[in-house]
């Protein structure tokens, strides 16, 4: 297993779209270092030939009938949106000017 010192908290937080203050980065670096050192104890277990389990009770090909149902009410959805206009959710501009 890899070394817990390989964790760069600020870089990983940026992958998770999360800004950290310098103080948070320093604190999390230390706390998560301790947690990673602990979880690395798993490297001592022999799991050769063991299949991974993603789900405790796997259900395969579980499809319900494809019937049109009611959607959530538009007003309720727009009410929750931090910003909306013209019955749509508004976000900062994501395309360049032509």
């Amino acid at each position: 297993m890899s070394d817990s010192s390989a964790l760069d908290v600020t870089y990983v937080a940026s992958l998770a779209r999360l800004d950290l203050t310098a103080e948070e980065a320093a604190r999390f670096q230390e706390q998560l270092g301790t947690v990673l050192t602990f979880v690395e104890t798993l490297s001592k277990l022999d799991v050769e030939g063991v299949e991974p389990t993603a789900h405790p009770a796997p259900v395969l090909d579980c499809l319900r009938d494809d019937v049109a149902g009611e959607c959530l009410p538009r007003e309720a959805i727009l009410h929750n949106a931090p910003d909306s206009a013209l019955d749509q959710i508004r976000v900062p501009k994501v395309v360049e000017d032509a």
Binding site: M1, S2, A6, L7, V9, V12, A13, S14, L15, A16, R17, L18, D19, L20, E24, R27, F28, Q31, L32, T34, V35, L36, F38, V39, E40, T41, L42, S43, L45, V47, V50, E51, P52, T53, A54, H55, P56, A57, V59, C62, L63, R64, L72, P73, A76, I77, H79, N80, A81, P82, D83, I89, V91, P92, K93, V94
Partner: protein, 478 residues
């Protein structure tokens, strides 16, 4: 005695007999909340006006007709808040729909009005990670109620609720039930629909009841369990009723005692209470079988890879676009995501997102995540082989009684390690419950509750409820 101190079955009997009216139950709860919840802090919201209206129209023919049930504030109830104990959802989110469990409670006639506190997004085992308020243990106000369903356990223990629902990802129903001295049931994975439960770790989360009696837990389970076309992981299996065998006792049952659950780290006073309960069940005719679950030690490490990995993925939906907190004046869309998440999430949620993102990242995925999934297979197999020779397993819930508020600050690992006896059930997908088995003395004369954990095979809820009821009967007799 206030009606608030009663349980579902006693209230139902009196309602049906016409001795009391549903509105009187709501009024009694209102008075109890007024008197006690200020210092306990179990509720984030309680809409008593709505409860009174629902009480006046309650259909007493239905199985929960006229019974108020509190919901953990991560279970959606149309038109109500669902904060998840987070600043992110504190404002700007009202549930647009009912969770499936909410729908089923309504169909069964329950009155839904109270929203209970929790660790933010159910991440924690003390309820201290709630960004919104502190919840205190009704048995000792200087101590945690446990968590993450700490509010749901505290309100039942304080008689400010009749019963509640919580969610359990690594012990979040059973551990607070143990610390607060109430019954808490985590159903088998796939037994109860997760539709409308705000997802933390999707392969581990289950919704379940916290109640004053084992019988009430059975009643609520029967209402909320069963197939749901809106949750593909909810099993398409009929729900066997738990009531017919509830009072059958334990004579002839084989109960496994896993030696790894009674080793180093278990508080001697807790051990004594749990062992006394086990001995009492032996006295009722159960056969005790010593068993071994060798991977128990690895369960905490496995969980703290898998749960954060799933959480980091699930919580990507909180981006400031569709609901909840959005940062003011972001530079561009990426900036909006980063700042909204930075401002909306508390420290434990940020730590778990970072940890989960790391163990899933390229180059580390196999070393951490895949390996943890393989250990999960080992844990699951060990339970399968144990249940080939025993009907249920008896164990402690938590290695120690409720700790002091603030005692684990800056050391998240300390609380993680205390999850050791509850986490394996979630990894294996089996069912488990906590039933009160006495108290141990705290400082300044308080009596701190201890829970007996009963674990059962997948979908064997009727068996563990029967074992817990047998213990309850011996306790009532003593």
């Amino acid at each position: 005695m206030s009606l608030a101190t009663e349980n579902i079955s006693s209230l139902r009997t009196r309602l049906v007999a016409g001795e009391i009216r549903a509105r009187e139950i709501v009024d009694a709860l209102g008075a109890a909340i007024e008197e006690k919840d200020g210092e306990i802090g179990g509720y984030l919201a309680a809409d008593l006006e709505r409860a009174r209206q629902d009480a006046d129209t309650a259909d007493l023919e239905k199985p929960l007709g006229g019974i108020p049930i509190a919901l953990k504030d991560n279970i959606n109830l149309a038109g109500a808040q669902c904060t998840c104990g987070s600043r992110f959802l504190e404002e700007g989110y009202l549930s647009p729909y009912d969770a499936t469990v909410t729908t089923r409670l309504k169909q069964a006639g329950a009155i839904l009005f109270g929203r209970t506190n929790l660790d933010e997004f159910a991440m924690g085992s003390s309820t201290e990670n709630s960004a919104l308020q502190v919840t205190r243990n009704p048995h000792d106000l200087t101590r945690i109620p446990g968590g993450s369903s700490g509010g749901s356990a505290a309100v039942v223990a304080a008689d400010t609720a009749i019963a509640s629902l919580g969610s359990d990802t690594g012990g979040s129903i059973r551990q607070p039930a143990s610390h607060c001295g109430v019954v808490g049931l985590k159903p088998s994975y796939g037994r109860v629909s997760r539709y409308g439960l705000v997802a933390f770790a999707s392969s581990l989360d289950q919704i379940g009841p916290l109640t004053k009696t084992v019988e009430d837990a059975a009643t609520l389970l029967e209402v909320i369990a069963g197939p749901d076309p809106r949750d593909s992981t909810c099993l398409d299996e009929p729900v066997a009723p738990c009531h017919p065998s509830l009072h059958d006792g334990v004579a002839g049952l084989k109960l496994g005692i896993p030696r790894e659950y009674f080793g180093e780290g278990l508080d001697p006073a807790v051990r004594e209470r749990v062992e006394a309960a086990i001995k009492a069940l032996e006295g009722e005719g159960a056969e005790l079988v010593e068993i071994s679950l060798p991977s128990t030690d690895a369960a905490v490490a496995t969980y703290y890879i898998i749960a954060p990995a799933e959480a980091s993925s699930n919580l990507s939906r909180f981006d400031g676009v569709r609901y909840g907190h959005r940062a003011e004046n972001p530079g561009d869309i990426l900036d909006m995501y980063r700042q909204s998440r930075a401002g909306g999430f508390g420290p434990e949620v940020k730590r778990r997102i970072i940890l989960g993102t790391y163990v899933l990242s390229s180059g580390y995925y196999d070393a951490y995540y895949t390996r943890a999934q393989k250990v999960r297979t080992l844990i699951q197999r060990e339970f399968q082989s144990a249940f080939a020779s025993v009907d249920a397993i008896l164990a402690p819930v938590s290695p120690a009684p409720a700790r002091k508020i603030g005692a684990a600050e800056n050391d998240p690992l300390q609380d993680y390690l205390a999850d050791i006896y509850t986490i394996s059930a979630n990894l294996a997908g089996i069912c488990g419950l906590s039933v009160p088995c006495g108290t141990v003395p705290g400082d300044d004369g308080s009596a701190l509750p201890v829970g007996l954990q009963v674990l059962g095979p997948h979908l064997a809820e009727a068996t563990i409820l029967r074992v817990a009821r047998a213990w309850e009967i011996t306790r009532e007799r003593a």
